[in-house]
């Protein structure tokens, strides 16, 4: 089990000074720093900004950018958009599932990798495409995937 990043919530929330309009920014920052939002985090945000928990929870479940379960250290997105689809993205996805040991929408047991599918990464000509930690990979070979899977 890899270390879970902890965030000094008091410090973080203090910086936003209870400004209700910053709800999404606050949630994004927590998400960015610890890669997920816990029930306790949402409660702390709700209290600090004076926004009802129902609304905080609504926002946190509305946007795909937020995760309510811990995410792996590395995030992988595989494009299943039309252009990638016709270039056999499903096959790429299968190989990724095998090599990284993680299913779409899930996180590997060792908390290293989270896998998601997306509907276009905006570079269809490179398809089938995957993205890992903000880096694009066009038609990755098994060797390339294995190298990425051994990343720390």
């Amino acid at each position: 089990m890899s270390e879970q990043t902890t965030v000094d919530m008091a410090e973080l929330l203090g910086r936003y000074g209870g400004d209700k309009s910053q709800l999404i920014q606050v949630l994004l920052e927590i998400q960015r720093r610890k890669r997920w939002l816990s029930a306790e985090d949402l409660e702390a945000v709700s209290t600090s900004l004076g926004i009802p928990y129902t609304q905080v929870y609504h926002v946190a479940t509305f946007y795909k950018a937020f995760s309510l379960v811990p995410k792996g250290k590395h995030s992988i997105s595989v494009c299943l958009g039309t252009a990638c689809q016709v270039r056999n993205a499903p096959r790429l996805l299968d190989r990724i599932v095998d090599i990284f040991g993680v299913k779409p929408g899930d996180t590997s047991q060792d908390m290293q990798f989270s896998l998601d599918t997306v509907n276009c990464l905006g570079c269809c000509a490179l398809g089938p495409v995957m993205m890992m930690d903000g880096q694009y990979y066009s038609k990755p070979t098994n060797e390339e995937l294995e190298r990425l899977a051994s990343a720390e």
Binding site: A39, T54, Q55, L68, T107
Partner: protein, 204 residues
């Protein structure tokens, strides 16, 4: 507030700026079907049943009258064939989600709806009108129930910690639910406590 004049079904009516088209129509005795609009709640335009046709600069379009502001010179038609077909579609969709609801059935007869047009295999009876959510927040200030998720996954859920404290003494939203599903969701549709150990998938 200044006075404005608009036309509803060809008839000139005087209204106050800031009123919605629905309010003006009601005051003028024009009947528009509504579902998600309650006088004590801020209108949210969720059900679209109150659809009417407006004409602006010669162009016609359908809008939800409960959230559309009355404007000077606005032309409103409340029962054109376009309006009727819009309402019919809305009703067919609502009735697929919540079959057998009296209020919807009545409107359905009025607009010649085919209640079986859309077949929703997991009709869960909640039409997401938001009456319960808005009532709890706006009238009671308790926020025990809220919307969760997005798109087809959207649902209303109770926050168990708040519901346990407040709902037994209140439950006023139960009788407001137009489909009557809310009482049976209470206790079942709860925001999960989601701090469970992640992930069940084992590396092969």
């Amino acid at each position: 507030m200044s006075e404005i004049t608009l036309t509803i079904n060809g008839q000139e009516v005087v209204a106050q700026e800031g009123q919605t088209v629905l309010e003006v129509a009601k005051a003028a005795g024009v009947d528009i079907p509504t579902l998600c609009n309650l006088p004590e709640l801020v209108p949210s335009g969720a059900c679209r049943l109150c659809t009417v046709e407006i004409e602006e600069r010669g162009r016609k379009r359908l809008v939800a009258s409960c959230v559309y502001p009355a404007e000077q010179g606005l032309k409103v038609e409340t029962e054109t064939p376009q309006v009727a077909s819009g309402r019919r579609l809305v009703l067919e969709l609502l009735m697929a989600r919540a079959p057998g609801v009296k209020q919807l059935t009545e409107y359905g007869i009025r607009y010649g709806v085919d209640p079986r047009k859309f077949d929703d295999t997991d009709a869960d009876m909640c039409i997401l009108c938001g009456i319960c959510v808005r009532y709890c927040a706006e009238v009671k200030g308790l926020n025990a129930i809220g919307f969760v998720g997005r798109g087809v996954d959207r649902e209303v859920m109770f926050i168990p910690e708040i519901a346990a404290k407040e709902c037994a003494d209140c439950s006023e939203c139960f009788r407001l639910c137009p489909t009557g599903v809310l009482p049976s969701n209470y206790g079942i549709n709860r925001v999960p406590h989601f701090d469970f150990p992640p992930n069940s998938f084992c590396k092969p």
